[in-house]
Structures are given as C-alpha cells and as structure tokens.
C-alpha cells in the first residue's frame, strides 16, 4: 500500500522519438501488407473481370 507516484511528464514530450519510430514502422508494415494483399487481389480481379462478362450477361 505504498503511496502512488504522482509525478507527471515535465517539459518533455509525451511520446518519445523512439516510440514514434516504432509506431511509424508498424504503420509502414501494415501499409506494405495491405499493398501486397491488394496487389494479389488486383491480379485476381483483373483475371476475373476478363472472364466475367460472358457469365453475367443473362442478368
């Protein structure tokens, strides 16, 4: 039951540059994963739409 420390950040940024680098890396990785995924889907959907007009004509 020790008294809790109430010291708050003083004249220092809340997020360190190290934390910023970490977050930016995560963002870059997430973006690259999305790009890779979208690329795979783009290739697939291009192939699909080339085939599809024949299938969907009755609609």
């Amino acid at each position: 039951m020790a008294p809790h420390d109430l010291r708050r950040p003083f004249k220092r940024p809340l997020i360190s540059d190290q934390e910023k680098r970490r977050q930016q890396s995560l963002l870059r990785q997430a973006q690259n994963r999305r790009d890779a995924q979208n690329h795979a889907r783009f290739l697939a959907s291009t192939a699909l739409s080339l085939e599809q007009p024949h299938e969907l004509e009755p609609e």
């Binding site: 109430l6 190290q18 994963r33 795979a40 697939a44």
Partner: protein, 752 residues
Amino acid sequence: VAGIELPHKQWPELIGSLLSNVHQLPAPTRQATLETLGYICEEVSPDVVDQDHVNKILTAVVQGMNSTEENNDVRLAAVRALYNALGFAQANFSNDMERDYIMRIVCETTLSPDVKIRRAAFECLVAISSTYYEKLAPYIQDIFNITAKAVKEDEEQVALQAIEFWSSICDEEIDILEEYGGDFSADSDIPCFYFIKQALSFLVPMLLETLLKQDEDQDQDEGAWNIAMAGGTCLGLVARTVGDDIVPLVMPFIQENISKPDWRQREAATYAFGSILEGPSPEKLEPLVTMALNFMLTALMKDPSNHVKDTTAWTLGRMFEFLHGTALDTPIITPANCQQIVTVLIQSMKDVPNVAEKACGALYFLAQGYEDAGAASSPLTPYFQDIVQALLTVTHREDAVESRLRTAAYEALNEVVRCSNDETAPMVVQLAPLIMLELHNTLENQKVSSDERQNELQGLLCGCLQVIIQKLGSSEPTKYHFMQYADQIMALFLRVFASRSATAHEEAMLAIGALAYATGPDFAKYMTEFYKYLEMGLQNFEDYQVCAITVGVVGDVCRALEEKILPYCDGIMTQLLKDLSSNQLHRSVKPPIFSCFGDIALAIGENFEKYLLYAMPMLQSAAELSAHTSGADDDMTEYTNSLRNGILEAYSGIFQGFKGSPKTQLLMPYAPHVLQFLDSLYMEKDMDDVVTKTAIGVLGDLADTLGSSAGPLIQQSVSSKDFLKECLSSDDHLIKESAEWAKLAISRAISF
C-alpha cells in the same frame, strides 16, 4: 494468500474474522487488521467480495478514520485501506447517504493534525476524482476550499496531492469533452460537469501562485517534482480543458512578472505562458505568440538565469509545436524571422546541457512544422547544413549525457531528416556515412558489451539510420544513391547484436526492417548472416518489444524476398509456433504473429502446405476464443479485435498464397470453420472497422481461391449475404473496396 483463495470461493470466513478484530482494544491489532483489509482490497478483484462484506469493510474502515479514533497509526491504516477499497464501493457511492458519509469523513480527515494522514486523505480524494467523477458535484465547493488551503499553507507532500486532485479532474473532463468531439449534443457515458470551467477564476490564481515556488536545482535534478512543477502542469491541463477562457486570466500575471529582476518571477511568467499554449484556439494565441516571440528569443540569449533560459527554450518549442505548421492560417514563422530563430536555437545549443536540450526540442518542433510542406522549397533549406552540423556538434559534447542532451540532439536530427525535401535530400545522403562512422566507432571502442552509455548511443545511432533509410528509400533517385552504403550499413547493424542491450537490439532490428523494404529481393544476400539474429529476436520472450519488432521484420523480409525466404521458413515457423504456445510471451505479440503467418504464406505460396497442419489448428482455437467478447472491458475488446485482425490476415495470406495452385483443395477442410468464424463475428456486432474490412476481404479471398467447390458453403453463410450487403453500403471506403472484391469473387464461385 487471500488473493489466491478468495477468487475460488475459498476461505469464506476470512473477512468476517478480520472484521471481528476492529473492535478489539489493542491499537496494533486494529492497525494490522485495517492494513490487512487494505492489502486484500488492493490484491483481489471487487467482483469476488460480496456486497455484504464490502459494506462491512467500508464501515470498519470509515470508523477507523473517524476523529473518535485516537490512535494515529490506526487512522492512517484506515485511510490507506479506504484508498484501496474505493474500487469496491460502487454501490455505496450510488447511495446518497452512504456517499455523503464517506465524503464527509474523507474531507474531515484532510484536516488531521498528522501530515501523513492528511496526505493519505488527499490521495483518497484524487482516487475518488477519477473513479467517481460523476458523483462529485455536491462536494466540489468544499473540496475546492480544502485543496486551496492545502496548496497555500500545507507541507509540500500534501499540497502536491491537492494539486493532483485538480489535474485529475482535468484528465476526466478532457476525456469526456474529447468523447463529445465538439458536438455538445452528443451522448457520453458520463456527462461533463464543467467543474474546471466553474472554478476557473479561483483555480487559476491559486496555480499561478505555486509557479513562484521553484527549487534552485530543479532543472538539473531528473527526479525533481515540486509544487511549482505540479502547479504549471495542472495549469497546462486546465488550458486544455477550458481553451480560450484561460488566456485573460493568465496574461496579467505574465505581463506583471516577465521582466522582474527576480529570476523566479521571470521564470514563473514564462512557464505560465508555455503551459497555456495547448488548448486555446490559434486565433486567440497567434497575436500573443507573435508579440512574445522576439522577447523569448532575446531572453534565450541574454537572460542571466539558466532556469529562465531553460523554460524559455521549452516555451519556444511549445509555440512551434502548437502554433506553427502548414495547416495554420497565420504563420508565426516567416522568411523575415526564420533566420533569427535558427541562429538563436543553434547558439543556445552551446549553452548548459539542460538549456541546450530544450533548444534541440524546440528545433524538433520547428522542423516538424514543415513536415507537410511537400517536396516544395522549405524556409529551413538555406540553414539545413548548419542545423545538421550544430546537432552533430552537440552529440559530441563531453557533457552530452547530462540532461538527456544527446538523445534530444539525435531526436531533433531525426525530425530534420524526416522533414527534408528534394532540395535537401543530397545532404541527407551525405549524412548517412557520418552516422555510420559514429556507429562504427562505438563498436570499435566498446570494451564491454554491457556498457550502458555505449549501448544507448548505439540505439540512438541505429534509430537515426533507420530514419535516414526510410527517408532515402521512399523515392527512387535517393534510394539509388543510398544503396551504395547498404552492405556496410547491414554489417554494422549485425555487429550491434553483440551487445546485450534490448533497446539497441530493437533499434537495429527496426532499421534492418527498413533496409529490407528499401533493398527488395537483393536483401537475400544478407540472410545467411542475419538469420541467427532473427531467430534470437523471435526467442526473446523477456524483452517482448524486441520479439514483437522482430515478428514485424519477418513480414518485411517476406515481402522483400518473396519465395527466396523459403529456406528460412522451417526455422521461423517453428519459432513462431513456439511463441504462440508460450504462456511467458506478452499477449500483445500474439496478434502480429498471426499476421506474420499471412505474410509468410503470401510469400511462399503453396509451399506453406507443410505448415498447415500446425498453423490451422492454432488459428482455429484462437478464432474460437476471440469470437465472443461479451462482458469484456474496453482494453479486452481492443485486444480481442487486434487478435481477430491477426487471425483474419493469416487466413487472407494463406488463401491468396494458394491461389492458382493445384494444391488449393488442401484448404477445403478448413473453409467451414473460417466461414463460421466470419458468421460469428458478424453476429457478435462488436467488430471495429479494421476487423470488418479484413473479415470481408477474407470472404473474398476464400471464394477466389476455392472457387466453385466452396460455392454451396459460401451460399449457406450469413456473411455472404447480410454481412456483405452491409459492407457494400459502408461509408468507410476501405470496407467498401474489400466488399466489392468479395462480391466479385463470390459471384464467380457460385456461378459455376
């Protein structure tokens, strides 16, 4: 022992037998009993103690606090026990009479003759302010009076808690107002009572008075925390809570004190100004900042007091952080004053370490303001070389380890690099070998692998190189120039792994991830040597941040190498599966590991076959666990959503990886479960937008890869109908895009 037994409904007589002690005569018995009750409340969750026991504990504790208790040790134990028992008192705080009684006793206890008891009572008020904010209205006037008296007259340890009460109220109101999001008719779980706004005209003068009570050595002492620091911090929070209304209340204090002969008055005035720069509107602040800027620049150069210079440099940093940037209408920095600002900051970097550190911080925000300026010419371009040179000089100062100066200099350098443009890119290319040489020197001079300062420096240098790689790798011409250093830089990073510092490892790993992304398939040549460190990182359970970052870098390497990653996959997959099965590894690393399965599968395609038998059951059981969140708190719901996203990214990667392969049918047995998972997520109705987008994408990937053989299964799923329909009409364009993809893939799968 109670912490273990009570959650299992064991030891039911414990609380009762403890409570029978509180009426016993020997004071040490009463004290020990109250301490034990306090420890139990600290240790066990409120839901394992029934309300009848809670009532009895609170009654015993509040009786122990009462002024009729003559023994101070017993009273102190009672106040501290109440602090821990507050989380148990939800029902009691909802009852007006019981709450009134508890609040009256707590307020009375703040007036105890014993300083420790007064401090503990204020600690209770601080805890009540965050736990029971919405119940405080009837007491706030009395609390203001007792905190004002404590701030003015009491010993510092008590006064600090009294200020903390108001900082904590600010935290609550900032959160509530953020939830309103500027729309005051919007609902929030807890209404804002605007306590700060109502107390403003009394609160602000009270806080301003504390600013004059600085300690002589507070800027040099890393552990310092005093009433002036707490008062200024609270003033900053008040400004964030009320915005413009604070300005007229603080300006007279600033004008009155800013030029006084006593450094304390000048410093307090400057600190007050710096503190209120976040919160009020730019329209309100811009004229004041424009007027003050020149005064501050002169003070930073000429004020005889280091305290004043420290706070002045910090205030300049705050001006640049909140009132400088391409998004603001009236720039406070113009071609006319830019040179003077840069000159003063560079000059100030030669000052004593604590002042120089703040000057580096100001430069960080000066550069940041031009981050969105694009490739166009930046007003900083003419000074770029001088700034970089000045920052490098700071890093070489013998006293750079004091006051976090060296770190601040590298952080500023990173921001200057991030904000460089086409004009200054050639200078960033030239900076790369300089930082590499620094890293080389620390590796050569290193006598022991655990020299803390050397390790810290290596971390900073790897961090700086990471920023440089990311910047130069982001455009083809600069990437081309940078690639001449790739072999050397990689060799240096690998040597950093010889140190025993988790931070240095983490920074080197992040930098290698950036290098893999910039290098592409050529990264394969580094793999033989790099692989053992990759495995080491994946095994680092203790420093889970290193493990998490290594998992991310595996993804980077997969995307860079594609099928060339194959020879390393047995080792990587073995380790990732071990990580997932471990109880030791921090749970936050598990969602990225699932995403990483997807990265590997997408890179190696049908070669993922041999891992299906191990990876799929893991995914399946995690999916079952994560499908339902009922009763979870916000943190748990957020974690569950990140877990779901990881699992879904794994499925996406696996399905897409197998696309077009003759082995596609190997995935067929897993399709019913995947669809079931999607259905249960849809039915649960608590997915966030990211999970929704990934989930509907998986539906498309499954349909695309399995085609007509999965057609009937897909048609039976709710996801392919209602969920898809909802996503197609979503306002979120990423969800809509994934849904369009799913629709296309499904229409093909079921048309055969």
